[in-house]
Symmetry: C2
Subunit: 215 residues, 2 copies
Amino acid sequence: MNISIFNKAAIESFEQRYRATFINSLGGFKSLVIVGTKSLSNVANLAPFSSFFHIGAQPALFGLIFRPGTEERHTLSNIITRQQFTVNHVHSSIYVQGHQASARYPAGSSEFNATGLTEAYEDGIDAPFVQESRIRIGAVMREKIDIALNGTTLLLSEIVHVSMPSDCLQRDGFVDLEKAGTLTCSGLDSYHQTERLSRLTYAKPDSWPQAFNVE
Amino acid sequence: MNISIFNKAAIESFEQRYRATFINSLGGFKSLVIVGTKSLSNVANLAPFSSFFHIGAQPALFGLIFRPGTEERHTLSNIITRQQFTVNHVHSSIYVQGHQASARYPAGSSEFNATGLTEAYEDGIDAPFVQESRIRIGAVMREKIDIALNGTTLLLSEIVHVSMPSDCLQRDGFVDLEKAGTLTCSGLDSYHQTERLSRLTYAKPDSWPQAFNVE
């Protein structure tokens, strides 16, 4: 098997778009969600994100990364203005629409209209959900951290609302994403279904983990 | 289809372990890597992480989250001491060993010995790689951010070294994780293979994205 090795100088010498594709896909599979927000003038906005990451369960915190000078900034400014937003999982019937929501539509137009996804509301959350999405999260912004190293923004938010198909929730609290058809993505544009190998028991020094199932 | 809805009060009332499982699995699929470090006394350390996330390509930055009071803290103190570390992708032949590396082994013992994974070194990186891993990253710590909201630590690091099977790198810079057998995970203990639906062309307002392939 041929191995390719790249050092720092080689990585830095990559052409800009090549490097973006390379580095973005290099880190492994990513969460795929569509974030729903509302502007001050009540325009509903959607944008796909692959940077959702878990931070902690108590409080229920997650992070999102916003790059400078992109469409994601509409989402960020809406969140800063209104505090609440939604996070919607993506399955195989809506991933093309989710991808399309990243196009640079004119300010004031809604990605719901442009993509055909359906605006929906749930009690207690003043932001639009994607009706077609099966696992839906309502969130409130908690802290904004500017990352000086490259000008991106890290937004920390709390999960305050969840809706999902009842049969996707297992007895121990595990959310069976595969049962919901939730996709994963890699790089900027690659979409993947998953197939479970197993859940493994908690690791202890004196034994090997075992596969287990919970319904 | 029955839908389960949870508001903030319901989420906060979950029993602690149930809530950790629920919130951790709720956010979608995650990157799965094994981080390799060395202590000041040259003990090689391994720990699995599901919190690797992409921050930017220029410089090539990523983040990792470290929870307080866990085995991950050995990894963090090693990185702070020695600055360099490795990030190793996980495929189906080594995911049980990777999971096992999260067990609380006594200080001073190496997870390489405990799990049977093989220590390997590459030019320019003073930290242990996992020889069985197919996509391997050498990294240097750049910034540590303490998240006051829950006591976790966000470590920002730069990718300075990459080795991978040559046939996993496509002409446009895209790293084909699926070809390398890289796994994804969900929650604390669920491991998954992937199957690509497609890559989609860059989204533009006046057309729908198309599936494409690059070799």
